[in-house]
């Protein structure tokens, strides 16, 4: 049985990777001898739910998971952080386990708390710490410590101007993760490996302006202008070392959950909703950066006069205040579609500071998902097709912001990630993230026949 190793590089982008490939001998060889395709992510192209969409073959609507935080109920404050318990659809490793095949799973976003698997699992950056049960089996944690020392799920204190420390942190994290992966594939039985490195995403958000000359914040004299390139060289070396530990006929997939693009600014979503008469607050003056969630908890939203409110992040989510659904719904259900369509049109027309169109896309869940489970946002908003962040905080006194409201950030997500398939007879073309599960199953079907 030929093994299959899936190496996940969170946020690895096809355009950026193509630019860097000449200096990445291992990835270049995999892409040249196999195939290198763009991998269309889901909407939204965000780590959660995208990785679990890849592993289950289900879209966010089918999973009922629309982001890191989702509405648990139709109350105004009922938000919960997604965890492995949010994903009820079987993942590819569950299906392989039913066939008697063993998996090694490391860092796949959406796997904390760990569920029992046929094989072993080290969960992802959503684990609170290494003090909790973050592995299956629980006793695996001792081996993690032995192989990787102090295991780093993620970069600590990410929003920093101390870029030198951040590079050291991400490099240390990546080296320890690959040390763990190499240690486990060399000592544990397995058929399928899925190991996801979160480092590329963190480096993109922190250093994209330093790398990209077209970025509005680019400084060609930055001492960190090569930080991204050098990090990819480290990744390439680590992947080469890992491949040397794998049986020679192992099939290798290098994949990402979404791509990256430069972040050009932010649109204050709730500020705009207030100005446009959709959201009414009971407070007159607010500190810049006040969270709407805090105002909700303090009873400072006038729900009787509120039509819609928003959640910010890399993309915007709009929730309508519907009679019979929300506790103090203000929109008669018979007017829901009229209001939603009008709001979508107005959101799409928000211009930049100079009054120029920015190409915002507004998505309707029932049009982009095969099924809509759980409590979906009424609208998804990609300001400037994700070149602008959705700022959910209020008190800014303006709609357009140059900086992220949560700290320095150079990048936003892009809809296409990567799929390198080695060896592969198929060349190029675009693939869907929802095809990857079946690609893996088909590999093992072929091997079993």
């Amino acid at each position: 049985m030929r093994k299959l190793a899936l190496i996940g590089l969170d946020c690895a982008d096809p355009v950026l990777l193509a630019e860097l490939l000449p200096g990445l001998p291992t990835l270049r060889e995999l892409a040249a001898s196999g195939s290198f395709a763009r991998l269309r992510s889901v909407d939204p192209p965000i780590t959660i739910p995208a990785w679990m969409c890849m592993m289950t073959g289900k879209d966010p609507g089918e999973l009922g998971v629309y982001g890191f935080r989702n509405r648990k109920d139709t109350s105004y404050a009922g938000l919960g952080v997604a965890s492995s318990a949010s994903f009820s659809a079987p993942a590819v490793w569950d299906l392989l386990g039913e066939r008697g095949l063993r998996s090694i799973l490391i860092g796949v976003p959406g796997t904390y708390p760990p569920k029992p698997v046929k094989g072993i699992l080290v969960s992802c950056f959503l684990a609170p710490s290494t003090e909790v049960a973050f592995t299956y089996p629980a006793t695996l944690r001792e081996k993690v410590k032995a192989l990787a020392g102090e295991y780093l799920f993620d970069a600590r204190e990410f929003r920093t101007e101390d870029k030198a420390r951040l590079v050291e942190e991400v490099v240390a994290m990546t080296k320890r993760r690959f040390a763990l992966v190499r240690g486990l594939v060399s000592t544990e039985p397995w058929d399928f490996l899925a190991a996801v490195e979160i480092g590329p995403d963190r480096m993109h958000h922190a250093f994209f302006a330093h790398h990209d000359p077209r970025h509005p914040k680019h400084d060609p004299a930055s001492p960190f202008r090569d930080a991204l390139r050098e990090y990819y060289q480290l990744l390439d070396q680590e992947i080469a070392a890992l491949l040397s530990d794998l049986p020679s006929r192992t099939r290798v997939l290098v994949v990402s959950d979404h791509g990256v693009q430069r972040l050009e600014g932010g649109i204050a979503l709730n500020e705009w909703l207030i100005r446009a008469g959709y959201l009414a607050l009971k407070a007159d003056s607010l500190e810049p950066g006040t969270r709407l969630g805090d105002l909700v908890r303090e009873g400072l939203v006038d729900w009787s006069r509120t039509i819609a409110w928003g959640e910010g992040g890399y993309y915007g989510r709009i929730f309508l205040n519907v009679a019979g659904r929300e506790p103090e719904g203000a929109i008669p259900s018979s007017e829901y579609e009229i209001v939603r369509t009008k709001l979508a049109r107005e959101l799409a027309a928000i211009p930049d500071e100079e009054g120029r169109p920015i190409g915002t896309r507004v998505l309707f869940p029932e049009e982009i998902y095969r099924e809509v489970r759980g409590i979906a946002p009424d609208l998804l908003v990609y300001f400037g097709d994700l070149r602008f962040r959705s700022i959910g905080t209020v008190g800014w006194g303006r709609i357009h912001l140059r900086e992220n409201d949560t700290g320095p950030d150079d990048a936003n997500h892009a809809p296409y990630g990567i799929l390198i398939d080695y060896p592969s007879e198929q060349k190029g073309g675009d693939r869907s993230i929802l095809e990857v599960k079946d690609l893996i199953l088909a590999h093992f079907d072929k091997e079993a026949s």
């Binding site: 780590t47 952080v81 072993i120 089996p137 990410f158 992040g313």
Partner: protein
């Protein structure tokens, strides 16, 4: 890990687990039963994935990472 209490399982179930520990990827009967029950209880909404303190900390980190605001 929270404090532990002893419970009793039938001899038949314990023997079945013991016979398949390697296949079940578990080091002991207790480890396997705990993991399976935790997963089941979480799926049915009877056991939270995070304590309130952990959820606050994760939310803070997700804000720091830019996923939330």
């Amino acid at each position: 890990m929270s404090k532990a209490r002893e419970i009793r399982l039938s001899e038949e179930v314990v023997r079945a687990i013991e016979a398949h520990l390697v296949e079940l990827s578990a080091g002991s009967v207790e480890e396997y039963v705990e993991a399976v029950l935790r997963e089941r209880l979480r799926r049915e909404g009877h056991l939270a994935s995070y304590s309130p303190e952990e959820e606050r900390e994760i939310t803070r980190r997700l804000r720091d990472l830019g996923y939330l605001d």
